[in-house]
């Protein structure tokens, strides 16, 4: 069960600079746990202390945003490709209000 994971620049400090790493798991949640075991601290950049996906990243399984696939419960299959990108957002609005708008 190998899943290719594309890592954005900002998280490559956790992967020794690697742009593509391999992981395993039947759900996104299991994959992230597997990645965290190999790349200590990785999980904390993707998942909030409350257990939801961080607003600061977008995660895709193949060509779909995982928010449309059940988020952390998204099912994975051998050969799937997972892409992580930094969410690009901002603006003049205060941070708390912006976070509420995103409300993911």
């Amino acid at each position: 069960m190998a899943i290719e994971v594309r890592v954005p620049t900002i998280l490559r400090s956790y992967t020794g600079g690697a742009k593509i790493v391999e992981g395993a798991g039947e759900t996104l949640s299991a994959l992230i746990d597997d990645l965290d075991a190999k790349h200590n601290g990785f999980k904390g950049r993707l998942i909030t202390p409350e257990g939801g996906l961080h607003k600061f990243v977008n995660i895709y399984v193949n060509d779909e945003d995982v928010r449309f696939l059940g988020a952390l419960e998204a099912k994975l299959s051998d050969g799937d490709s997972v892409t992580i990108l930094p969410a690009v957002a901002g603006g003049a609005l205060g941070f708390a209000a912006a976070a509420a708008i995103l409300g993911r």
Binding site: R67, L85, G90, A92, L93, A97
Partner: protein, 157 residues
């Protein structure tokens, strides 16, 4: 003007304290910001990896369509980021407008800044007939303003 000596840096890093950008691209960014005013406009300028030179303007949809917030549409972003990958490009500039405040990163901008190699360009369109354009590095929550060197082929070349 500062006369600080530049320190030779790692060739793969963006160690310059200046953004060099073509005037035609600056004009197009300003036009985009004016077009979407009073909503915030946003986009990317891609360039060859490691060149630190923005060459291909990609105006993005502001999925939030807001006067005080912008957000790339996640599916459009995936398509554009893959296209850059295929072209051996990276996001050299990430730009957006503030439509009623100055061209300086807000706390929201700083919190979301996730491309440590990019120049964050802000345009303010609060004045109807002049624009304020400034460029910043935002790395680990630290904002550093840098000069913008607008390269005009008709003057420089």
């Amino acid at each position: 003007m500062s006369t600080a000596t530049s320190v030779p840096g790692k060739s793969h890093g963006n160690v310059n304290d200046v953004l060099t950008i073509d005037s035609a691209i600056v004009d197009a960014i300003v036009a985009h910001a004016r077009r979407d005013h009073p909503d915030e406009a946003c986009g990317v300028v891609a360039g060859p990896i490691g060149s630190d030179l923005p060459t291909r303007l990609i105006p993005m949809d502001n999925a939030a369509r807001s006067m005080t917030f912008y957000e790339f549409d996640s599916m459009e972003q995936l398509r554009v980021w893959r296209e850059m990958d295929d072209n051996d490009e990276e996001p050299v500039v990430i730009y957006h407008s503030h439509t009623a405040t100055e061209a300086y990163p807000s706390r929201t901008d700083i919190s979301f800044a996730g491309e440590p190699g990019a120049h964050y360009v802000l345009v303010s369109t609060r004045e109807p007939d002049s624009e304020e354009i400034r460029s910043f590095r935002i790395v680990d929550g630290v904002v550093t303003e840098e000069e913008i060197n607008i390269a005009d082929a008709t003057v420089d070349a």
